[in-house]
């Protein structure tokens, strides 16, 4: 894996549907199209996962992106679009 992913960082779901456990051990499902009241993608913490597991979900599955990377890519889309 190319990058060392920090479990304490914020991530966003960018493709498909993620199923993760919240702090109360209840499973929640977040779809890539989900947005909050402000129209922003919800940020999630993946502190229960190891760095290599996050790398797998980001790089192999394409499920998540680092929130900072995603925002950067959105600015790029806006500038080019």
């Amino acid at each position: 894996m190319a990058k060392n992913y920090d479990p304490k960082a914020d991530y966003v779901v960018v493709s498909g549907t993620a199923s993760l456990k919240d702090e109360n051990h209840n499973r929640i499902v977040i779809k890539s199209g989900n947005v909050d009241a402000k129209g922003k993608k919800p940020r999630v913490k993946l502190t229960h996962l190891a760095s290599h597991e996050i790398a797998f979900l980001v790089e192999s599955k394409g499920l998540y992106m680092l929130a900072s990377d995603w925002e950067k890519s959105q600015k790029g889309v806006a500038a080019n679009g």
Binding site: G16, F56, L57, L63
Partner: protein
Amino acid sequence: MAKTVNAVNAKRGKVELVFDAALVAALASLTTAETIDISSIVKNISGGDLTRAVEKEYVIGDDEAIDDYDSKLVYSNLVIILLYTNGKDSLGTDTVDIGTILDEVAVYTTTDLTLPVIWSVAGGAVGDEERATGASDTRIVGLTPPVGGVDSSGKVQRTLTLSVNSITPATVS
């Protein structure tokens, strides 16, 4: 000689039941809303097949049918076969006896109780495919009484049938 059915498969998938706040409020034996892993007592899970109704309409003089696709998807009932030690298995924070809880949910009529299921045939590790039934529309429609003596260790078998209106595929993380 009595026949012995196979016990729980060691390579079984992961199955979880969602005990939500409404269920906790309704049943005196529960105090914690949580997702309970019942993999250890699930012998088999099947159903949830997706079908979409298509009506074929024929017009006089036209050989080809007009396909009228229904926008709604229909899922078959989800059938879970449980194999457990009657009255002695304890699962989750509230040390739930699954047989008792299912009996209580099945006969409860005061409010509309739902029992969503999350399962992963792959085992439920990070990155595996997973499916979840709708949080507000998964209901018990069938529950067999305990059938004793189905394996050599004296476990009982029950079959739980759930009506589902939606199933969401997801990736475990």
